[in-house]
Symmetry: C2
Subunit: 231 residues, 2 copies
């Protein structure tokens, strides 16, 4: 009945949003003379939302949106030295160390012995590959899919390609919007593992009452949930 388990990567297996928050903090300090913090956050989020259809997800698009916002909120008076700092902070994000989340290695290892385990993530292709390589988890997965967006159609295609169809698959991740809801739409189980930090554009209401929706407080609870679901 359950053959395949998909894992989200960022903020499910390793820290990610915390690096975005650190960079946003630096961005706020860089522009502190021009604009107040709350307003800057709103403008940056508006730029990210506006640019998502062009840039997709990931650090490069985020960096471009920070630069655009810096020009916008300063009415074109931002000095090039500030832009250079933004570029540098984007490059540093692309080099940040990988911090595995609790239970990530153990849970993927134990489930990999009985299920096909697939990593399913979005973002910049090269950056996601780098993070997977540095995580040391790469060899545990039977398949890796880096997609431009996590839609129901994407889950259907991935679980058909790597498994035995979406209805025999479970998707596990921290984003209700990207990991849980579209996987449920595809007919899979959707398991929410909340992370304290979630990007505003990833927020969604929990599909409470859906018979294949589950929430666990950390990855350590996943093996027990899998056992219950397959009983």
């Amino acid at each position: 009945m359950l053959t395949t388990i998909g894992f989200d990567a960022d903020d499910t297996l390793w820290q990610n949003e915390s690096f975005f928050r650190l960079t946003q903090g630096r961005f706020v300090r860089l522009l502190a003379d021009y604009v107040e913090q709350d307003h800057l956050h709103d403008r940056l989020l508006a730029a990210e939302r506006r640019n998502l259809g062009h840039y997709g997800f990931g650090v490069k698009g985020f960096t471009l949106s920070m630069i655009e916002t810096a020009i916008e909120v300063t009415n074109g008076t931002v000095p090039a030295s500030v832009i250079a700092e933004i570029l540098a902070s984007g490059r540093e994000m692309l080099e940040h160390p990988i911090e595995l989340l609790p239970h990530a290695r153990g849970v993927v290892t134990s489930l990999a012995s009985a299920y096909r385990v697939i990593l399913i993530t979005k973002g910049d292709l090269l950056d996601q590959e780098r993070k997977l390589a540095q995580s040391g988890l790469g060899d545990l997965f039977d398949g890796v899919e880096i997609v431009s967006d996590k839609t129901a159609a994407a889950y259907t295609a991935i679980f058909r390609r790597h498994g035995t169809g979406a209805d025999q698959a479970m998707m596990v991740g921290n984003s209700l919007k990207s990991d849980v809801i579209p996987a449920l739409e595809a007919g899979s189980w959707g398991v929410h593992v909340p992370h304290g930090l979630t990007w505003a554009l990833e927020q969604a209401a929990a599909p409470v009452g859906h018979r294949r929706f589950h929430a666990i407080s950390d990855l350590g609870e996943l093996p027990d949930l899998v056992r219950i679901v397959t009983e």
Copy 2:
């Protein structure tokens, strides 16, 4: 003996480098007051090369490298209005119309009836997907792989996943460095279809004398070459 044919996308099936050249021309004009054209080209290419390991291939990284170069060549005096123009030119590249190259549709259509045809491309994930969707060629392909880099290992994995192994596959593209040489290393046929414009970082010497290397002057010659190779 030959079961699978891989096609590069940019400058093999549709125009790409010409849009980069147009944008570079605009970049030169934007900075004409600060730096002479040849020197600017060199500095931009140096930035692209330096950043490739961070940004990978594609328009977003190119835009970030243009911004970095603009700051560098002006010693930090470039006005934000110029940076805003660079951002705009990058976004326009992400919306450029698809211009199919001669024979692209006909040749892929005819070969798809007898071979597995796979699109293999690198660049920004979302941008490459957009271009494929707009090309109208998407349904012709049995598989699409957008990779961070076109290495021999990448070809080995792709032709194993979508075909019957690299030794029964042919890769067709305009870049000797990315399409032909690593495919030959993987054991495939490598077919070079030169395009008048090739990015400096894609240049390589032709592997003349390799028994599986072929060069054709345009895609229209591919069906005849496939016939000869399989006889």
